[in-house]
């Protein structure tokens, strides 16, 4: 790695305002290498690594800035980390930065995947390989269930919203409905419920304020 964080800080003069958010501009190559390292070392979750690198290690953005971008990336569909890499790259170098950051994040792991795919093509028929992969799939399914349950714990007003989780599950697993129309229909309903409840809460807060 050509730029260590110590170099970057040592090269700059004494920071005049330690409290101001850092605004160092990384080069395109540094961006690529940093994203590659995050992509290749991310087992079971790249997001925390990306945050650590950007906010703590390289100090390229403040924690609040990162959270704001993450809010957008988690709000929109698609892969959260790819969305985030696009935002971060674009922030520093426009379209070129977006391409470089995303390519950095995906290229290394993509090559690893292709190597594994080739190995699977070669030895995937062996009984021991099939047994191992079945074991990994079983464990992976367990991790998915754990993720779903953790997410369910964070859903507010569960008695209203969790029935829709069950509805989605049944629609996908038993009815095998296609996701695009299903998602739009269910999101229309849950979104409308959330919108109306949000409105009502805002109105109640307003009247409480005027009365006091």
């Amino acid at each position: 790695m050509s730029h260590s964080p110590a170099d970057a800080r040592g090269a700059a003069p004494e920071p005049p305002h330690p409290a101001t958010p850092p605004a160092r501009q990384p080069g395109l190559w540094e961006l690529f290498l940093a994203c590659s390292r995050v992509g290749l070392s991310g087992f079971g979750g790249v997001l925390p690594l990306l945050r650590h690198l950007l906010v703590e290690e390289r100090r390229l953005m403040s924690g609040a800035d990162f959270n704001a971008l993450l809010g957008l990336c988690q709000f929109l569909p698609g892969s959260n980390v790819v969305n985030l890499a696009v935002c971060v790259g674009a922030r520093f170098h426009g379209a070129r930065g977006a391409v470089v950051a995303t390519a950095g994040l995906l290229l290394g792991p993509f090559l690893v995947m292709m190597a594994l795919a080739t190995a699977y093509g070669e030895w995937g028929h062996l009984a021991v390989v099939q047994d191992m992969l079945r074991g990994v799939a079983a464990a992976g399914a367990g991790l998915l269930f754990a993720t779903a349950l953790k997410m369910a714990r964070n859903v507010p007003e569960r008695w209203i919203y969790l029935p829709f989780a069950a509805l989605m599950l049944v629609a996908l697993v038993i009815l095998r409905l296609p996701l695009p129309p299903l998602m739009l229909a269910l999101l229309g309903v849950t979104g409308l419920i959330a919108y109306r409840r949000g409105r009502r809460a805002a109105r109640l807060a307003m009247t409480a304020k005027t009365e006091s």
Binding site: P77, G78, L133, L179, G191
Partner: protein
């Protein structure tokens, strides 16, 4: 070429409704590539998921493996681009204006509305992976043990993956 175009188009449509990230997309991927297009069987789908679990990188790369199975390296590239490109373009033109509608009531409503649907999606992902892998009772017990341990202990996911591989190699599941 027609195959690559079909792959690209189907995955592009998919990513636009992939609220809740890529793990939430597995049921639709399964429906598409196993049931509808019949590009691979259940077992292969579960195998590719397992390989992606054991490898580093963002979890969207399971899609690269699926693309590889369908049409080799060109298929892997087409699938990866299809999953990442559409929303990347949207976000590139949107991120500057995010602050303006960050506190809008409809934005919060959508976020609240998506959360329970994502729970159902990820749960369906776990279900379909387990079903595709053709788990017997011992396999289901391993799945439930991993779920329980992850909830109460939260060890790094790699430990579970390694334990699953070992249990498989020893013929326990």
């Amino acid at each position: 070429m027609a195959l690559l175009a079909d792959l690209f188009l189907q995955f592009s449509i998919l990513t636009v409704v992939a609220f809740g990230g890529i793990t939430a997309m597995l049921p639709e991927l399964h429906r598409l590539v196993v049931e509808q297009r019949q590009w691979m069987d259940d077992t292969t789908f579960a195998h590719l998921f397992a390989i992606a679990q054991a490898a580093p990188g963002p979890n969207l790369l399971v899609v690269s493996l699926i693309g590889w199975k369908v049409a080799g390296i060109p298929g892997a590239i087409a699938a990866t681009l299809a999953i990442s490109l559409p929303m990347s373009l949207v976000i590139f033109f949107l991120y500057r204006h995010w602050e303006r509608f960050r506190d809008a009531p409809w934005r919060e409503a959508i976020q609240t509305g998506v959360a329970p649907l994502a729970v159902g999606l990820v749960c369906a992902s776990g279900w379909l992976i387990g079903a595709s892998a053709g788990l017997d009772l011992r396999g289901i017990l391993l799945t439930l043990a991993c779920t329980g341990l992850m909830l109460v202990r939260g060890w790094h996911p790699l430990w579970y993956i390694g334990a699953g591989a070992a249990a498989g190699a020893l013929g326990l599941v």
